[in-house]
Symmetry: C2
Subunit: 257 residues, 2 copies
């Protein structure tokens, strides 16, 4: 175990840089914050490249510490610095991201959630977590969607990245793949003229697309779907939070629930 | 129109104090941030006690400004100071809170959401917004639930406080009222032995209780319900975000959707 006490140490600087998308892409790694996520990562067979903890936190879990080669004991100040949180959990691990640009095997099986420019990290993370609970096979981030491995998304996913597949790609191509294999692609629209989501029969292989918080889905994608769905609203609310809408739709549409 | 330039002005100090629950309770007032909410407040017949804006923001909406007696032009610095946000929208209004402790007329009609120690302001606000969209009559905050009129909850409610009724109270008493009038009270539980939410027939007059983010509903309340519901989860997710769960349940249970 090595002990680090200065935030000017080069290793500390590199850990902090994992807060940026650019450095995560460059290294192919990201940071997990907290024992719960570290344990989930180990259970899912991931290699812990570096385990970083305060003295108190490392002492609590000697079982895990003994299984990792590179363990660093740091000060609470360094921990706050690299996690950019005021009250970090005292333990972080550096692990590999999957290759988000890889190509999945065709035909695409199961239910898939496609995200069109969803910008809030909390919304993206919550939707991944909900997709996991709703038995979805994977989530695909289109252009300008919050990065799956940013610290805020990772926090909201609560480990669901270990349970389903995450991809990044051109949603036009993903839609074309689903349609070619005759799997329905459902868009979503804040428009009472669209199809009531309750009129869709639950299925097993399909895609559901959620759009940007303010603007919804792009017109370009809306034109390519099999059906565009609407959640009828009572009262005078103008819209639902996108993660709440996604939850209602995912639990309704997936026959495997 | 008065112009204020110092954050040490007593009026500015009072506005800032509205960030605290204590001062809101003392004055019976809270702050709306942004034109959208100010317009909703006016439409719902609320009196704007004070309208505070930057020069640029006030110039944009002279129609509204002309209808308010007390208008204050402030610096961007004062605006950031009183809203405690980095990029405020440039306009805030001071309006009355309803009396949250008032007693609703019995029998209780419609669907009601009861919150048992829900702590995250974003979750509380999102649930009020969703309850509005799902046609609920009102939302009741039990002890230790985030304050409906805190700035973060107000931001997440997006104006839904003008569309449904908000109360604070002892949930034990609310449950007793529903049961006395033979309306079902549904608790929620992260326990597969509880009743599958899909097995409940949608109804018109009922209560749904959501619990704390980490601990769920209190055992004391779980014992008093008509039924405790569970959302069956696939995959390996351990739970759903409480606002997502609430959305799925509210849209399922309310026959008025």
């Amino acid at each position: 175990m090595k002990e680090l006490t200065s935030i000017h140490n080069q290793r500390v600087k590199n850990w902090k840089k994992l807060q940026t998308r650019k450095y995560r892409r460059q290294t192919g790694q990201y940071m997990l914050d907290g024992w719960h996520l570290v344990q989930e990562a180990i259970q899912s067979g991931l290699t812990i490249h570096e385990l970083i903890g305060t003295k108190a936190a490392l002492a609590e879990h000697s079982d895990i510490v003994s299984r990792v080669n590179a363990v660093y004991q740091v000060t609470p100040e360094i921990m706050r610095h690299i996690t950019e949180t005021i009250t970090p959990q005292g333990i972080v691990a550096i692990v590999d991201m999957p290759n988000l640009k890889r190509k999945p095997a065709l035909p695409l099986k199961g239910a898939w959630l496609l995200l069109d420019r969803v910008q809030d990290p909390g919304n993206v993370g919550t939707m991944v977590r909900t997709a996991d609970a709703a038995g979805f096979a994977g989530v695909v981030a289109g252009d300008r969607t919050a990065d799956f491995y940013s610290p805020k998304v990772v926090r909201s996913m609560q480990g669901s990245q270990f349970h389903l597949q995450l991809f990044e790609g051109d949603l036009n191509k993903w839609i074309a793949d689903f349609k070619q294999q005759q799997s329905p692609v459902y868009g979503t629209q804040l428009n009472p003229a669209a199809k009531n989501f309750r009129d869709v029969h639950p299925g097993t292989d399909f895609a559901l697309i959620m759009g940007n918080e303010g603007q919804g889905m792009s017109d370009e994608l809306l034109k390519q779907t099999t059906d565009n769905l609407y959640i009828p609203m009572r009262g005078q609310a103008e819209s639902l939070n996108v993660a709440v809408s996604a939850g209602i739709l995912m639990f309704q549409l997936n026959a495997q629930n």
